[in-house]
């Protein structure tokens, strides 16, 4: 099959968990990578080595281990900055996860400052967002008296761009959208939307939680007018650990936003009356940061860079095309989202007529196949299709065509088991 990673079997050996079996001795078919990805040995080893040999707090400890830990932590930042082609490494802020990164922006925009959102202002999101890119903006607009508006999408899972002129006006202060949808798989036109938003002076916030694992990202190479102002993603979907997220923000914007959380290391000086704040990125990193997680994330993005993100993307597209072909052979199965693999990401949500997604997932699980069933934190997007929930398969760098065959075969079995059709 064209496009697959050349050393797929070697890659699989990098992920120790893929060697385990179910209680019945069946091989594990992990098709839930959009939920969280598995971790290669090199990430596990980097974290263990750090804890065994270099553990100390960062930037506060004036001793050997403190210096080593600080170097390892900041080294993680350098690697992440390189991974997304950040124009400056100090523009990379570590958070707890992507949700916290989005909340950091949405909450600080309610505070006093040049970008403060107020009554009559408009914040634009889309109907295909993960709840984490809807709820923080609802909270912002409810607190400030601003209006929340959104792009809808069509049957094919594409944003309705005919709404651009109506939604993006001089009143619009923020335009936020997902780069790649976690439910539909849709890849949104980042450059086009960003250019339009910038024409009216709006801040553009992009949720790259599903994009960063799959697409080569080079922020510095984007024309300034088409480069978002903020891009966020989470560590655990790019073969890194949980507990760490990334916020990249344009320096001038991050400097103008007030601090989010107050605490240790985000300050310059503190008196009982008031404080002055640290420069970037520490201004937004109050308290002891996720140190070993940053070390693990650094190893993770280096691992992906080693495979080559162009190759990772090609693999994802090849597997997705093969999966769409296979799913089409299952009677009564409807894919919710774009059907052209070259125009979409690797998460494929579907309905199987007559069988509830939980029951689909249960039958698959008994056969060692892990998928997600539910609303995938995208309830508005499901409502659009008139369904409560769906089943979602999502592949990654270690997924083989054979695993897709196992999924398709198990879906045929599921229909038989529930006597549908």
């Amino acid at each position: 099959m064209e496009g697959l990673l050349a050393d797929l079997e070697v890659v699989r050996k990098d992920f120790p968990i893929l060697g385990r079996t179910t209680a019945d001795g069946l091989p594990l078919v992990y098709l839930d990578s959009a939920n969280t990805s598995q971790k290669p040995q090199v990430v596990i080893d980097a974290m263990v080595d750090h804890l065994e040999r270099h553990n100390a707090n960062v930037a506060r400890a004036m001793h050997l281990l403190g210096a080593e830990a600080t170097e390892a932590f900041e080294g993680g930042r350098d690697k992440v900055a390189a991974f997304i082609g950040a124009p400056e490494r100090d523009e990379v802020v570590f958070t707890k996860n992507a949700s916290e990164a989005l909340n950091l922006v949405a909450q600080t925009l309610a505070f006093e400052g040049p970008h403060r959102v107020g009554p009559g202002d408009v914040v634009v999101t889309t109907e295909m967002e993960h709840h984490s890119n809807i709820v923080p903006w609802q909270m912002l607009t409810q607190r400030t008296g601003a209006d929340l508006r959104w792009f809808t999408f069509d049957e094919a899972g594409q944003l309705d761009l005919s709404q651009v002129d109506e939604l993006i006006t001089e009143r619009t202060k923020v335009v936020t959208f997902t780069w790649v949808s976690n439910m539909l798989g849709t890849v949104n036109p980042v450059a086009e939307l960003t250019r339009r938003a910038h024409e009216v002076g709006a801040i553009v916030v992009v949720d790259a939680s599903q994009a960063a694992p799959q697409l080569p990202i080079d922020l510095a190479a984007m024309p300034v007018e088409e480069r978002p102002d903020v891009v966020v993603f989470t560590g655990h979907k790019v073969v890194g650990p949980t507990g760490i997220g990334v916020l990249w923000g344009r320096r001038s914007l991050l400097e103008e936003l007030p601090p989010f959380l107050g605490g240790g290391e985000m300050i310059e000086t503190v008196t009982m009356e008031r404080s002055t704040y640290a420069g970037l990125p520490h201004k937004f990193e109050a308290g002891t940061p996720p140190i070993v997680e940053a070390v693990g994330l650094g190893a993770a993005v280096d691992y992906l860079a080693g495979l080559g993100m162009e190759a990772v993307h090609a693999h994802e597209q090849a597997i997705t095309a093969y999966a769409l072909e296979g799913l089409a052979t299952v009677p009564g199965l409807r894919v919710l989202g774009p059907l052209d693999a070259t125009q979409r990401g690797g998460a494929i949500s579907f309905e199987l007529a007559g069988v509830h997604p939980h029951d689909v997932a249960q039958v698959l699980d008994v056969r060692g196949i892990a998928v997600r069933a539910g609303h995938h934190c995208a309830r508005p997007a499901h409502a659009k299709f008139g369904v409560q929930s769906s089943t979602r398969m999502s592949s990654y760098v270690y997924t083989t065509p054979g695993e897709i065959d196992a999924l398709v075969e198990a879906l045929h079995y599921t229909r038989d088991y529930f006597k549908v059709g």
Binding site: H356, H358, D359, Q362, G374, R379, Q388, S389
Partner: protein, 155 residues
């Protein structure tokens, strides 16, 4: 592999799933509740009609998996026609079965078709699927009793 599935999806459950008993929303009723399972998005709207301390009708409109649909259907069979107090006891017995991690021997005298859910108790992730209909019924019945009591005061 199929044996494990069959323990969960007993014929009785699949029968109730395909042909749910007492489905649909009906009048009269004293209370209507709407319960949601936030993790999976399953929903149930359920009405209860009480008369002289007896459950006269339970009607519902539900979206959910086979376990949740079948459990709601079985629940209506078990509570309709029973005095509220007795129906509440059945609810307790069912709850005990579901929380028993598969170690509780179900009493067919009390639970009738409900014994089919003994297998579900062995799947921790699915136990919550079997409960929303029952929880909605308990909630609506509590509200109906308040309404009925208030109605009584007015007489």
């Amino acid at each position: 592999m199929s044996a494990e599935l069959d323990a969960l999806y007993q014929e009785i459950i699949l029968d109730h799933y395909k042909n749910p008993h007492h489905a649909g929303l009906r009048d009269p009723f004293e209370a209507e509740v709407h319960h949601v399972n936030p993790t999976c998005g399953d929903e149930v709207t359920l009405r209860v009609h009480l008369e002289d301390g007896v459950v006269r009708d339970v009607s519902y409109d539900a979206v959910g998996c086979s376990i949740s649909q079948a459990s709601t259907s079985v629940m209506t069979d078990l509570v309709i026609g029973k005095p509220v107090e007795e129906a509440m006891t059945v609810h307790e017995v069912f709850l005990t079965l579901m929380q028993g991690k598969g170690a509780v021997e179900p009493d067919e005298e009390v639970l009738e078709d409900g014994i089919a859910f003994a297998g579900v108790a062995k799947f921790p992730a699915r136990v919550k699927c079997a409960l929303p209909g029952w929880m909605a019924w308990k909630d609506a019945t509590g509200q109906s009793m308040t309404t009925t009591a208030q109605g009584g005061d007015d007489d």
